[in-house]
Structures are given as C-alpha cells and as structure tokens.
C-alpha cells in the first residue's frame, strides 16, 4: 500500500517535471541564428499583446501577437537594434505596447509612488517611536 503510494507520487513528480512550459512561439517562427532568436524572445517579453492585454506577445496565442513576433524577428534579421524595434512599435501603438512603463513626465508619479509611500510610513513610524520613547521616559521619571 505504502509502496504504491510512493510510486504514484514519484510518477506524478516525473510527469510534471518533464512537461515543457507551453510556448506560443511556433517552430516555424524560430530564427536559425540563436543570438538573434534570444534577442527576439527578450524583446517579445517586453511587448504587450494588444488583444489579450495582460500577456506579452511571447506567450500569447493571439494571431496579432504572432504577427508582431514575426515583425520583431524580421526587423532583427534586417539589422535593427532592440531600441529601434521598440521605437517602431511605440510609434504605432503608443507606450501601451510596453509592459514596463517608461520613466517620463506622465509616469513620474507612478515611479515615485513606492518611495513616497515609504517616506510617509517612515514619518508616521518616527512619530510613533518618538512618542513611545517619551512615554517610557515619563514612566521612568515617576519612579
């Protein structure tokens, strides 16, 4: 009984361990040049699929995402820099196409927010600690 449980668990682990992550990239899209292909994959992961907007084009199965993957690869083969390809797509789709918002005036608050929230929390914590210390000192004085 116990042995069969263990072997069942092992079988399950083995089954899961060798499952490759599901890829949206079709074999016929992959470039022969491994370096270019790696750049294509990296770029694809930075680009938002405009159909299913929470996915990047690298793992989206939408036909439009495939068209964009092909476009990225075509431009890489033509010798474009990563920067040029991103600029090309931003010119057509706006900053929305970038999964990581660029740092600029209209995103300044977004990028500054974590630091601002931390500073706010630090000020409150400072007040709180100062008051605790005062209370301690008062208590000590009374003794």
């Amino acid at each position: 009984m116990r042995r069969s449980l263990i072997s069942a668990a092992l079988a399950l682990i083995l089954a899961v361990a060798f499952v490759a992550p599901v890829l949206a990239v079709d074999p016929d899209e992959v470039l022969d040049d491994a370096v270019l292909e790696q750049r294509a994959r990296d770029l694809s992961r930075q680009l938002r699929c405009v159909v299913c907007q929470s996915q990047n084009i690298d793992n989206s199965n939408a036909p439009l995402a495939k068209d964009m993957r092909l476009l990225v690869r075509e431009r890489l083969v033509a010798g474009d820099s990563d920067e040029a390809i991103l600029t090309y797509l931003v010119a057509r789709y706006g900053d929305y196409i970038l999964l990581k918002p660029p740092v600029q005036t209209n995103t300044a608050f977004l990028w500054a927010a974590p630091a601002l929230i931390f500073a706010f929390a630090a000020v409150i914590a400072g007040f709180y600690l100062a008051r605790m210390r005062r209370a301690d000192n008062d208590a000590a004085d009374k003794r």
């Binding site: 405009v50 439009l64 476009l71 931003v90 057509r92 789709y93 706006g94």
Partner: protein, 182 residues
C-alpha cells in the same frame, strides 16, 4: 495632534475610495490610438480577388474618408456591415476597406454575399499594414482629413448611433476644414 492620528486612516480611506470610484468608471483595456493627427501610414495593397483595383495611401489624397479594417473571419464585422452599407448608400463619404488577414478569395466571397460598401479595397494578408495602423482588433475604423492625417480611430463595430453622434459630425467638420484652406 493625537486625535489627528486617528483621523489619518479615515482620510486615507476617503482618498483611496474616490480614486477607486473614478477607476471603476474607466475601461482599463482601452488603448488610445498613437496615430491621431499623424500622417496616414504608407501602404500599397493589392486588390482582393474579384476586384480590379487595390488600395494605396495616395488614393485618398485630398479626400475626407473612412478606412475600415474588416475580415470575413470577424464576427463583429457581420454586425457592422449593414451599417456601412447604409452609410455608403445614403451619405456622401468614401469608405475604403482593408481586408485584414483573410484567406485568398474569402473577403471577396463575403462581400459578394452581403454587398460591398467600399469604394476602394486593399488586401492585407500578412497583417503588416494593420500593425502600421496600430490595429488592436477588427473591425476598426479610421477617419482621415484632406491632408491625409488620421483624425479619429474607432475600435469596434460602428452602430447607427455612433455614426450619427460621433463620426458623421467629424466627417462634416473635416470637410469644412478642407474647404476653408486654400
């Protein structure tokens, strides 16, 4: 001072509440077009099967026109199609179509069955021109002015209400602009 501290979470709650209430009224999936007031992308598309002429950027020189992306595979386009037919029949405006990612002949068959509202049609089997327009789905419609600039983008099927309320007034306004200019 100490009473203020107790009010802080309430104040924070109010601020966040207003912020999220406004957020609820917005559509987070809405993507504004990056091409507004930009010149029309350069393209020269072949004709679809059964139609003689293709569609290129310069064909619309000096015209106020609608450019409509459609496909025989696109369900919303079936809903939109009668509206386009109606506009083509009753209004004095050029509607140009771009057949987006269709199988050869599929677009032509689709128009044969339902009627053809387009003055010009281009075939975009690779979807590359669609990407140049920043397309996010079909149907999608652009309005261009006489100087060949994109002035409006509407994503989704045009309904009679949207035509009457948003698109038609803009088309008329763009015509005026063109007439005033030398």
């Amino acid at each position: 001072m100490s009473r203020m501290v107790f009010l802080a979470p309430l104040a924070l709650f109010v601020v966040l509440g207003i912020y999220f209430a406004v957020g609820l009224t917005r559509d987070p999936s809405y993507m504004p077009s990056a091409l507004i007031d930009k010149p029309l992308p350069v393209f020269d598309l072949a004709a679809i099967e059964g139609v003689e002429l293709g569609f290129a950027t310069r064909d619309l020189d000096g015209e106020v026109a609608l450019i409509n992306f459609f496909g025989s595979w696109c369900i919303s386009c079936i809903v939109e199609h009668p509206v386009l037919m109606d506009i083509a029949a009753r209004e004095d405006v050029i509607i140009a179509g771009i057949d987006w990612k269709d199988e050869p002949g599929a677009g032509a068959r689709w128009l044969e069955q339902r009627g053809n509202p387009y003055t010009l049609i281009g075939d975009d089997p690779t979807g590359r021109t669609a990407i140049d327009f920043g397309i996010t789905g079909a149907p999608e419609t652009f309005i261009i002015d006489r100087k060949g600039r994109i002035r409006y983008r509407f994503a989704g099927p045009i309904t009679p209400l949207i035509w009457k309320r948003d698109l038609k007034p803009l088309v008329e306004q763009l015509r005026q602009e063109g007439d005033d200019a030398p």
